[in-house]
């Protein structure tokens, strides 16, 4: 399944940076990041952010970054950042359009969640929370609601997840802050409502850091 084959030709996929800016405006906690266009600039940004950092090729037409090797993790010093950015910019293809490189703080946690918005043919815009990571589709431990949602709905969605043990204290990490997660859901819902012609939002992964959910990647699609 590729995005090209399944996305209507009228759909516009926002760049990761634009997608996260929208989410951040509505209150989603997003990993610190900055868009750069050269290796030199990137090293300065990374130094200010603190190492290690992540570098990702970023542009409207780019999906499937991981599969194309367009994500460079754990860059520990300015030279590594510089080299990674050169490599990413060189890997860009004409079809990718205008691109830059996102330099972002390296967020790590044992638990990944997924939050998203999808358009249901019957019900219109829906919002989802689920257990993220590589087993997302296999476990399909997800809960949906119709947008808009209330705070009660957001909390009940979290309660609906089967893997409640994953939301408790886990491998030395504190329990997931359910209030913060509920607020994230409300913020994603508000972001969806703010955009005319919104088709979908994926916030994936939403990594739990010290109990708080942080959006590490996001994709907004509009008509």
């Amino acid at each position: 399944m590729t995005a090209d084959a399944t996305t209507s030709t009228h759909d516009v996929t926002w760049s990761e940076h634009e997608s996260k800016q929208l989410l951040a405006q509505h209150g989603v906690a997003v990993a610190a990041e900055q868009l750069v266009h050269s290796g030199e600039g990137a090293a300065q940004v990374a130094a200010a952010m603190g190492f290690p950092v992540v570098a990702k090729l970023c542009g409207r037409a780019i999906a499937h970054k991981t599969e194309r090797g367009l994500v460079k993790l754990r860059l520990g010093d300015p030279a590594a950042v510089d080299a990674a950015v050169q490599e990413l910019l060189a890997a860009a293809q004409p079809d990718d359009g205008d691109v830059g490189v996102l330099v972002a703080e390296m967020v790590s946690g044992n638990r990944e969640l997924i939050v998203g918005v999808a358009t249901d043919p019957q019900f219109g815009l829906t919002i989802m929370v689920g257990i993220g990571g590589i087993f997302t589709e296999v476990l399909a431990d997800v809960a949906f609601r119709l947008l808009p949602i209330t705070s009660v709905d957001a909390h009940e969605m979290i309660d609906d997840l089967a893997s409640q043990a994953l939301l408790g204290a886990f491998r030395g990490e504190p329990e997931v802050d359910r209030q913060a997660l509920a607020e994230t859901l409300l913020a994603v819902g508000a972001a969806a409502a703010s955009v005319e012609g919104l088709t979908s939002i994926d916030v994936n992964p939403l990594i739990v850091v010290d109990g708080k959910p942080i959006a590490v990647d996001a994709l907004v699609v509009t008509l």
């Binding site: 399944t6 759909d11 999808a118 949906f144 609601r145 009660v152």
Partner: protein, 486 residues
């Protein structure tokens, strides 16, 4: 749009249009069912030859019915004459039609056009129409069985609506078997004018109905449906079963979220959001509706299991642990009270296995004490009917009534009767659910245990698992309603 469905469910008279002398035809069966169950309003029937059917002198046309004597026409004619019948009915002050006739939307494009025309006509005439292609309508407050199928259920407070006529019958059969009665039941048929949500909305206003039980497959307008379910669920529990739930949904979605957004998951979330209950299958749906109809809502999740059967208590505890309910801790004062009433070998824990304590006659007191304790929100009693089962064998075993058997059989049967009565009284006195589960509910319904449960107006659950699943749904509903009212 809200419709007044009183003419459909509380008609002062019914006209069976298309009555037949042939006992295999819908026009005979529907008149038969209406008469056989003692409908209290006026009964009229039309028949082209004005024959006598089941003692009713039919008339050749609706034009011959007195004006204002009936509110409902039950249509058993071929589909093509239905528009004319509606005009004649409206001229006689009839405000509702139940249309069994086929040949509409289910029959293709021409039928679909005929159905749209029928709705437009009904709107013009100020009538409500149920169906077409439906099986009928039940209304126990007026003893009305206007349907082309059996059965007629006992009176009660469950309102049934279904997109499948046969599933109405299924729920009515379960009602008959369990004794937990029905207020209204209707098969939506093609739902040309009135769909499931219209009936749910009316049930919400109906004093005779305390819980709605619905089967749905497809929805024409999902948002509008959920908006109505939301407003009704704030007043009254709604239990839904969804057919077509295995749909894989939006395979073509480009986003992760979209690929996870199957129809079933979205429907499930929407139902929860609306504050209604989605049951997993027909038995669970009926169990749950029967619980809403016959037990108070739980005020908390803490369940005490009182059992005379060790294994059943263990399985019940497992089921509770797997649910959103909690196996209650026995408070020291409750522990001490129970200990006074049972042999020393009792379980000393929850499940409260009273270890033969039933022979000491204390089950009623234990049920009362446990149900009234402030740290207990619901009680599940297991083991009823065992003594009566032995009594049955002794009654039928060839030695009865000699050898002291008459006396002991009567004693055993009286004990199970007392337990069922005590459970109902404990629920009444405490305002808490007190559920009884036993396989005798289906294995031997005439056993005085389940028979007395039915006589007290309660539902006898066929297993502890099913009781726990139903109780858990009522607790979920109670919580959702509470959260939404804040």
């Amino acid at each position: 749009m809200s419709h007044d469905l009183s003419p459909l469910f509380n008609p002062k008279g019914v006209v069976v249009a298309g009555a037949s002398t042939h006992p295999g035809k819908f026009g005979f069966v529907s008149l038969h069912n209406l008469l056989a169950n003692g409908y209290e309003g006026n009964v009229f029937a039309t028949n082209l030859e004005a024959e006598n059917v089941l003692g009713v002198q039919t008339v050749g046309s609706l034009d011959e019915i007195p004006y204002g004597a009936a509110d409902l026409v039950f249509v058993c004619t071929p589909g093509k004459v239905v528009p004319g019948l509606l005009r004649q009915a409206a001229a006689k002050g009839i405000k509702a039609a139940f249309i069994t006739s086929a040949g509409f939307k289910e029959a293709g494009d021409d039928g679909a056009q005929a159905e749209r025309d029928l709705v437009a006509l009904a709107e013009e005439l100020g009538m409500v129409i149920a169906g077409p292609n439906g099986q009928g309508v039940i209304s126990t407050p007026v003893n009305m069985c206007a349907q082309i199928v059996a059965p007629y259920p006992p009176a009660g407070s469950i309102g049934v609506v279904s997109q499948s006529g046969n599933l109405v019958s299924t729920f009515l059969n379960l009602s008959r078997a369990s004794g937990v009665g029905v207020s209204r039941a209707i098969s939506a048929g093609n739902a040309a004018m009135l769909d499931v949500s219209d009936y749910l909305e009316w049930f919400g206003t109906d004093d005779a109905t305390s819980v709605a039980l619905a089967y749905v497959e497809g929805l024409t307008d999902g948002r509008a449906f959920m908006d109505r379910v939301t407003s009704v669920a704030a007043q009254m529990p709604i239990v839904l079963v969804k057919g077509g739930a295995s749909d894989e949904g939006s395979k073509a979605a480009a986003s992760h979220t979209g690929s996870l957004a199957t129809n079933d998951r979205v429907f499930d979330g929407a139902i929860r959001q609306a504050g209604a209950v989605r049951a997993d299958g027909l038995e669970e749906a009926f169990d749950t509706a029967a619980t809403f109809a016959t037990q108070p809502l739980p005020k908390g999740p803490r369940v005490a299991v009182v059992t005379t059967v060790g294994g059943w208590g263990v399985l019940a505890a497992d089921a509770i642990s797997d649910s959103r309910l909690e196996l209650a801790d026995l408070a020291p004062d409750l522990f001490d009270e129970i200990a006074k009433l049972v042999p020393p070998r009792w379980s000393r824990n929850n499940p409260i296995d009273i270890a033969g304590g039933e022979t000491r006659d204390t089950v009623p007191d234990i049920l009362t004490i446990v149900a009234s304790h402030p740290a207990i929100d619901a009680v599940l009693f297991l083991g009823i009917g065992i003594q009566s089962n032995q009594a049955r064998l002794q009654r039928e075993g060839g030695f009865y009534p000699d050898h002291g058997l008459e006396r002991i059989v009567a004693y055993h049967e009286r004990q199970d009767t007392r337990y069922a009565e005590a459970a109902a009284e404990a629920s009444e006195a405490s305002g808490k659910p007190v559920l009884i589960a036993t396989e005798f509910a289906v294995a031997d319904p005439n056993n005085p245990g389940p028979a007395t449960v039915r006589a007290t107006g309660k539902y006898c659950y066929p297993s502890a698992d099913r009781a726990v699943a139903a109780l858990a749904h009522t607790w979920d509903y109670a919580q959702r309603r509470q959260r939404r009212s804040n």
